[in-house]
């Protein structure tokens, strides 16, 4: 127990990320099921309007910040150091700090479901209720007087610190800790996409931090950053949020693209087609992602010139995305494709992401978007990208790397059940939403009249959502069963080309008994140019020192939610306690003897 609380081992932290993020994924999923149950028929009244608004806000916030990002982070943690031949990340204690901040931030946000009585709210739940993009000026104190939005903005501030710390950590790790000979163009695609993602994190999160700080000042100290009566404009929030929000979309999708780029070659027994192009198009997407934010704002009326420019940049970003898809198909072409569950999910990613990408092109056209934005058509789009894309990609990664992480293979039979149920479920849940939106149902409505004519489609969508829930249950059974019944994985159950497969599963605490020297992009494969590398010996030729754990990252992390409680409860002394805990944690951390 103590060893898990104080761990600085990237592998253990990766597992902590995985289980925590998966728990939040289940919470976000339950929120979605309640939403779908409410909308199964017109004039539904399972939950009140207020609770419904909290549900969709928390579903979006949870899935983006507490499920998808940290699930990717679990692979960054576990796999990236193994792929580059490192013993750990560059700053192991900072890594632990990132995890604890994430956990505490997530608990802080979700505490809002239960603490209504403490705020004399008259309800149990005072969860955030402004939508996951929390548009000002609805989020100002005047229109949202309760603690709901306070939970949201303070929670996101806490989570931002976790993401930023991890971002710097992984950039330094990937740039500096690569094994000898692993030049940048020999880095596996997943690690490359991780690197691009982390650059997006460290550049995009400061933007939302500023936006949230303005909102915090408005709500707590009476400033007027988003108040038009004082000469400002609520549109500023939209620019700041989407300037963060669009890169955030790529923060969510690029890791999944990286996973797919590693999974496909392994199971097609063929190198990634156009590796260089796939890498550069990922970098290009990272850059271009900064120039498209106003396509979330076409209905704001920015004027025909701005609309045309943002329309053009948005359409352009489809080009590097399309290039990736063609390269993936070319990777499969001419291969010897083994239909493992991981491959199913990777191919599912491509097939579903295409739909999300194409509906994205219809949003890129502002006049068409005026009929689509803020309707269920957009809800369909975002779910084809983030569920059909990111979740499918993450499950490909789970089935692919779970044996590496635990030493046991997940059941392929249950895996296929999981895949097909999820595939059918997601299409039933999300495809009808295109029509629901085109027929005039806006998003974020807790009820709709039967006259709209969308009752049947909504029922279909609800059935799909429950099928997804069933598929996730199958996965959970698979996960539990594998603990005891899973087939032993050995070093390399798939015949992978990259370094993580050259060591035991799960790897020893020091990862590599001898740091490998890398001579090419596919070190463990035989190609026309080279023979496979020799895997490192099972036992290290010389003892390897492994640093011990530390309590101080967790202590420092604990200071942040205490700090956040101060404005939330309007208790000044808590601010001093929180600051003291944070500073004590950092101080003890900084002066901790190296050989603990």
């Amino acid at each position: 127990m103590k060893s898990w609380l104080t761990t600085t081992d990237h592998k253990r932290i990766g597992l902590l990320y995985f289980f925590t993020a998966f728990a939040f994924f289940l919470i976000g999923g339950i929120e979605a099921l309640v939403i779908r149950a409410q909308l199964a028929q017109p004039n539904g009244h399972l939950v009140t309007a207020e609770t419904y608004n909290q549900l969709f806000t928390m579903h979006g916030t949870t899935m983006v910040f507490l499920a998808l990002m940290p699930l990717s982070a679990s692979f960054f943690n576990y796999i990236v150091p193994l792929q580059i031949g490192a013993r750990d990340v560059a700053f192991p204690r900072l890594n632990a700090f990132s995890y604890w901040v994430f956990l505490l931030g997530g608990l802080f946000l979700n505490a809002s479901w239960l603490v209504g009585p403490l705020f004399h709210a008259g309800t149990l739940n005072v969860a955030p209720d402004g939508g996951w993009f929390g548009y000002a000026n609805l989020t100002e104190r005047q229109f949202s007087p309760g603690p709901n939005i306070d939970f949201w903005l303070l929670g996101l501030q806490i989570l931002g610190i976790s993401s930023l710390a991890a971002g710097f950590n992984f950039i330094v790790t990937i740039l500096n800790l690569r094994a000898p000979g692993m030049r940048m163009m020999r880095v596996p695609a997943f690690t490359w996409m991780t690197l691009v993602t982390q650059f997006l994190v460290i550049t995009a999160f400061p933007v939302i931090t500023v936006g949230l700080a303005f909102l915090m000042f408005d709500r707590f100290f009476g400033t007027h950053f988003y108040v038009h009566e004082a000469g400002a404009t609520p549109i500023l929030w939209q620019h700041l949020f989407w300037l963060f929000g669009h890169p955030e979309v790529y923060i969510l999708i690029l890791p999944a693209m990286g996973i797919v780029s590693d999974v496909l070659p392994t199971f097609a027994r063929k190198p990634l087609f156009g590796y260089t192009v796939v890498v550069y198009s990922g970098v290009l997407i990272g850059f271009m992602g900064w120039g498209v934010w106003s396509h979330h704002m076409f209905s704001v009326g920015l004027g025909p010139i701005a609309d045309s420019v943002f329309s053009a940049t948005t359409m352009l970003i489809a080009v590097p995305t399309g290039v990736k898809i063609f390269n993936w198909i070319a990777t499969l072409w001419g291969g010897d494709i083994r239909g493992t569950t991981a491959l199913h999910f990777a191919v599912g990613f491509i097939a579903m992401f295409i739909i999300g990408g194409l509906s994205g092109v219809t949003h890129a056209s502002p006049p068409a978007d005026l009929q689509q934005t803020d309707t269920y058509y957009v809800v369909a789009h975002i779910h084809y990208v983030l569920f059909g894309g990111t979740i499918m990609g993450l499950f490909a990664g789970i089935y692919y790397w779970w044996p590496k992480m635990t030493g046991r293979l997940l059941s392929e039979t249950l895996g296929k059940w999981h895949f097909w149920l999820q595939f059918i479920g997601m299409n039933l849940a999300f495809f009808p939403m295109h029509f629901i939106g085109l027929l005039g149902m806006p998003r974020r409505v807790y009820t709709y009249p039967p006259e709209l004519g969308v009752a049947d489609l909504n029922l279909l969508s609800t059935i799909g959502a429950f099928l997804i829930a069933l598929s996730i249950s199958v996965f959970l059974v698979n996960l539990l069963r594998t603990r005891t019944h899973g087939q032993r994985a050995g070093n390399d159950p798939w015949g992978g080309a990259t370094l993580e497969w050259s060591i035991a599963s799960p790897p020893p605490v020091y990862n590599f008994s001898v740091i490998p020297t890398v001579a090419n992009r596919l070190p463990r494969w035989k190609t026309e140019h080279h023979e496979p590398m020799r895997d490192p010996p099972t036992t290290p030729p010389a003892p390897i020192h492994v640093p011990g754990g530390s309590w101080w990252p967790m202590l420092a992390a604990l200071g942040l939610p205490i700090l956040a409680l101060a404005p939330l409860t309007r208790t000044l002394w808590l601010a001093f306690v929180g600051a003291a805990v944070l500073l004590a944690g950092i101080y003890l951390w900084a002066f901790e003897p190296f050989e603990a």
Partner: protein, 332 residues
């Protein structure tokens, strides 16, 4: 030309099987603006459909043709192909030109500038209802917008509180209602009828209940409607329930928020001068009948969560409510 081009997209075709009618459909345009966006969407849709079929087919062929078989020789380790990379970079780029050009043309064609003789209406979003001000006619109404057939309409949209979005799908795409900003849409309706829409930007507890109606009248019907609206409020005959209702209205909190011309000056809630002429109450939520009016007056927040029209303290008696209902219904 058919009334609507149901064949225009397979989506519409699919929906034929699902019945209808679809009063808020974007696929059944009834104005020049809505038609322009629909034509554009249809064009993009077909490009997208073509790309979808080609790419998914390639994927399926690859999966079937190159699936693992015993004895298949090890695949050739190809690493890439420069010409192919160039080809599949240029192909989508070329298709996007066919999307981008009509897009930009439509952006400028629908930029919200209407001809000089357009009927200009100011639209103001409130939590959670819509106010319409006809500057040229000097009249104010709420939640039901009347416009004449065949004349261009220009809406100048803003908000009194938070951000809303004005949307009547059959007549055209949405524009946000933003405090401190004025956004515009212009359209020329091409069929007499009643269209529904609703707020599309999340605006708080009753966002789902911020609905509206647009009535496209023939020229003469619009003239008659405007004449009625311009007249002063009907004076109830003495001794009627309506007269008692007027007295209740005048001594209750109603006057703080609602305008009835010559009776009260409130501006927070909808103008009630001709509330009896509207077909719905509570921003399109309920039919304008005695039962719903009575329930609404007695306890609006239970019908519309978060409604700023709170329960009156002390509560009105049933007799007072009945009188108020009679009065409001007399305001034709």
């Amino acid at each position: 030309m058919s009334r609507y081009r149901w064949w225009s997209t397979p989506a519409a075709l699919f929906l034929l099987g699902c019945g209808g009618p679809f009063p808020q459909s974007t696929l059944h345009p009834h104005s020049d603006f809505a038609r322009a966006t629909d034509v554009l969407f249809t064009g993009i849709f077909w490009w997208a459909a073509a790309v979808f079929v080609v790419v998914e087919a390639l994927l399926l062929v690859a999966l079937v043709r190159f699936r693992h078989r015993e004895g298949r020789p090890a695949p050739k380790p190809t690493h890439g192909h420069t010409l192919m990379e160039i080809a599949w970079t240029l192909a989508p780029a070329a298709i996007l030109v066919f999307v981008a050009v009509p897009t930009v043309r439509t952006i400028f064609a629908t930029a919200g500038e209407a001809p000089a003789d357009a009927l200009k209406v100011d639209v103001i979003g409130h939590q959670w209802w819509w106010e319409f001000r006809y500057q040229e006619l000097g009249l104010v109404t709420a939640n039901e917008l009347h416009v004449p057939l065949g004349r261009a309409v220009q809406l100048s949209i803003t908000s009194a509180d938070v951000i809303h979005s004005f949307w009547i799908p059959p007549l055209g795409g949405k524009r946000d209602a933003i405090p401190g900003h004025v956004t515009r849409i212009a359209f020329r309706p091409d069929r007499v009828g009643e269209y529904t829409g609703q707020c599309a930007e999340f605006c708080g507890a009753s966002h789902a209940n911020m609905r509206l109606r647009v009535v496209v009248d023939s020229d003469s019907a619009f003239g008659r409607w405007a004449t009625v609206q311009l007249a002063g409020p009907a004076a109830p005959a003495s001794g009627t329930a309506a007269e008692r209702g007027k007295a209740v209205f005048a001594r209750s909190a109603c006057i703080g928020c609602h305008t009835i011309r010559g009776v009260s000056p409130g501006v927070i809630g909808p103008n009630l001068t001709h509330v009896g002429s509207r077909t719905t109450i509570a921003s399109g939520l309920f039919p304008n009948d005695s039962a719903h009016l009575a329930r609404w007056i007695a306890d609006a927040p239970s019908l519309k969560p978060g409604s700023l029209m709170t329960r009156m303290q002390p509560p009105l008696t049933d007799a007072d409510i009945a009188a108020l209902v009679a009065y409001l219904q007399s305001l034709q």
